[in-house]
């Protein structure tokens, strides 16, 4: 589904480079403290702080979700999320709600960033609901369209210790059923923009067929007006492109700034036929990119697709950044997008021709 359905009524330019985020955003420190006091009560006792109950934590998460949704709107984003305030981590959050997983403790991702990597110890089954409450709350408080990021079945199968299934494909297939069930619930609740996060794809390029099959199941029977994005990051894209174009998605959200856009050329041949959500901000550098710098980054996207197919986004979730840096980066990103749109309107930027429609 086209991004045009998300264009604001008062959009100032003819061209529309929709701005959005990948998903996560730094949590307010007070939320982290409340979470600690709820989940680590034995530690809390040692420092003589009052423990809090689940109800208090839920209230704090509501407050944080409202705050960050509004912060996204204040930055000017066209499509917002709540910064994943209720989520711990992209696998952990879902595994906690799926029967068949157990947890043994945190493992390293990079530097001092860890996640509680679960083990699959029995057949996976749909447990408590995942994201519908989150979506309903965010869409209620938001004045802009809301995107729902959801971790894909392949990553939920790959980034775990598999102690039960014969193969990753078997586990991914079962998980695809569960993700489909959740996506249908989200669509029934009104969601029209869903992003499947599959960063594991970039590390196992030979598995693109497994990912493709799982995605077919995830989007089965969805209405035409639902926009499906796929986020993939931190890998050698030349090993998965152009095969990913066969996936049943409208948009690919890709990390490109971290690698100084060295991979832009990968996507020039053959023609990029989907929409491109271009990573124009490095999510792992606290230094805020200037508007001018981001504009140049956005223009690199125009080397791949025409403006009609371009969306502007950070490389990845920005939750590890200091919050003021995250906000300033987003604000600059939106301003850069608006300025590039104006320059496109004025004919000051050379662009690719939009691909001819099959109906022409």
């Amino acid at each position: 589904m086209t991004k045009e359905q998300f264009r604001p009524e008062d959009h100032p330019n003819d061209h529309f480079l929709m701005t959005t985020v990948v998903g996560s955003y730094p949590k307010p420190k007070w939320l982290n403290r409340v979470r600690e006091r709820c989940h680590h009560q034995e530690d809390v006792d040692q420092v003589e702080l009052e423990p809090v109950d689940e109800e208090t934590l839920a209230e704090a998460e509501d407050d944080a979700a409202r705050l960050i949704t509004k912060e996204h709107e204040r930055a000017g984003l066209d499509v917002v999320v709540d910064g994943e305030m209720r989520r711990t981590e992209m696998v952990e959050y879902f595994a906690e709600r799926i029967e068949g997983y157990e947890f043994n403790g945190p493992v390293k991702v990079w530097g001092h960033n860890y996640f509680d990597k679960p083990s699959v110890v029995s057949e996976v089954e749909y447990g408590e609901q995942w994201l519908v409450d989150e979506y309903e709350f965010t869409s209620e408080v938001a004045d802009r369209p809301v995107k729902v990021p959801i971790t894909g079945p392949y990553t939920l199968a790959r980034w775990v210790f598999n102690e039960h299934y014969e193969t990753t494909a078997d586990l991914a297939n079962d998980l695809a059923e569960l993700v489909n069930e959740e996506v249908e619930k989200l669509v029934d609740a009104g969601a029209r923009y869903i992003q499947i996060d599959e960063p594991a794809l970039a590390q196992h390029e030979d598995d693109h067929a497994i990912v493709g099959e799982a995605l077919e199941r995830v989007v089965e029977d969805l209405p035409e007006d639902v926009r499906i994005g796929l986020h993939v990051c931190y890998g050698d894209y030349s090993r998965i492109y152009p095969e990913i174009l066969e996936f049943p998605v409208d948009e690919f959200d890709l990390e490109l700034a971290n690698g100084d856009f060295e991979q832009v050329d990968v996507f020039k041949e053959p023609e990029f036929t989907a929409d491109l959500a271009m990573g124009v901000l490095d999510a792992h550098v606290a230094e805020v990119e200037s508007v001018e710098e981001i504009k140049e980054n956005i223009k690199k996207g125009l080397e791949i697709v025409p403006p009609e197919q371009l969306v502007v986004s950070p490389d990845c979730g920005v939750k590890l950044l200091p919050r003021n840096a995250a906000y300033q980066k987003l604000e600059n990103m939106v301003q850069a997008a608006r300025e590039v749109e104006a320059e496109l309107d004025a004919g000051e930027i050379d662009v690719l021709q939009a691909p001819a429609s099959a109906d022409d």
Binding site: G105, V107, V109, H112, N113, R158, W159, Q203, D282, L321
Partner: protein, 337 residues
């Protein structure tokens, strides 16, 4: 009779308390990672954590104890990440794992930093305090792997760069205190196998490092089996033990041993470093015996029983259980050939 020696590759998971403390002290961004200049507070956490993991190995009864390389934020790329003449840039994926490291970019002549030697000195003090029979083992990336993980903007030629990295690692090894053993981890020999010509050069590079130190030297490929050609060249290096990952691909590994023979001592990856299922001591010994049965012509002097990969992939509870299983498996130190 064959001696069974229990050990592990380096790169351990930090104890959970140290993860929390260091997150607070160091932060979450690229520029917060180890560069060799950390202050007293951070150093203190690493010292305490090192003491903990060395003691843990001694308690588990391991024969060869490693330092644990808890400071290696960039995993095997660490020796370059703390070296002069190296810029650390964007984060890149660490093989086919959900792990990342800072890309080390070599911009000038490489010179040893002594960073790994200092870690080993600290570990040697701990083992001495415990008056244990266990020996200290060093762990380094193999030269081909370290060159593969890095980007060269100075030497200009791939073979020359591998040679330079080998000389760099040899200089690091020469600074080591007395260690009984050195394991060179070479995942890139599997994951990015060197082509014709470079395979021989990779073997010579290993030779350069191995001959720089007065210790038993093992080369441990990781994440699968070596290509036959690469394996054959590796046997030409002056090493005491070649490694086989019997968890990821036991068939291809035993095929190499059957077709080309092996070193007098061998290193067997018997415990899965990337799964939380804990192998029993019996299972570990059965795997050793299976390997011996598959290679009946060989009469190994020593078999190193170890994990098939670095163990930092694991949560600390399972990591500890795997150490204990390895220690228990080798508690009877001789097995029938």
């Amino acid at each position: 009779m064959t001696e069974l020696v229990s050990t592990t590759p380096g790169l351990y998971p930090l104890p959970d308390w140290a993860k929390r403390d260091l997150e607070e002290l160091k932060g979450h961004q690229k520029h917060d990672l180890i560069d060799g200049t950390e202050g007293a507070e951070i150093t203190g956490v690493y010292e305490e954590a090192r003491e903990e993991v060395v003691t843990q190995q001694l308690d588990a009864g391991l024969d060869l104890v490693v330092e644990g390389q808890l400071r290696w934020d960039d995993m095997l790329a660490h020796p370059l990440a703390v070296a002069d003449a190296v810029d650390t840039r964007g984060i890149v994926r660490y093989y086919n794992n959900n792990n990342f490291y800072r890309e080390p970019v070599v911009t000038d002549d490489l010179e040893a930093s002594g960073d790994v030697a200092a870690e080993l000195e600290a570990a040697a003090e701990i083992t001495a305090e415990h008056e244990s029979d266990a020996d200290l083992a060093a762990v380094l990336p193999g030269p081909y792997t370290l060159a593969d993980l890095a980007t060269d903007e100075h030497y200009g030629d791939e073979a020359e760069f591998v040679d330079a990295v080998a000389a760099f690692l040899a200089d690091e090894a020469e600074q080591f205190p007395d260690v009984a053993h050195l394991t060179l981890l070479e995942p890139s020999l599997v994951e990015a196998a060197p082509g014709e010509g470079l395979d021989e050069r990779a073997s010579q590079a290993i030779d350069t490092v191995a001959t720089a130190i007065d210790a038993e030297v093992a080369v441990q490929p990781v994440y699968g089996a070596l290509d036959e050609r690469v394996y054959a060249h590796l046997l030409d290096a002056d090493i005491d033990a070649v490694g086989f990952d019997l968890v990821s691909d036991h068939d291809a590994n035993v095929y190499n041993a059957q077709e080309y023979g092996a070193t007098d001592d061998v290193l067997l990856g018997l415990v899965d470093g990337r799964n939380t299922l804990v192998e029993s001591a019996d299972t570990i010994r059965e795997r050793v015996e299976w390997f011996q049965e598959q290679t009946p012509a060989a009469d190994y002097g020593r078999i190193y029983a170890t994990a098939n990969t670095d163990l930092f992939f694991l949560p600390t509870n399972r990591f500890g259980e795997k150490l204990e299983a390895l220690g228990a498996a080798a508690a009877t130190t001789e097995v029938e050939a």
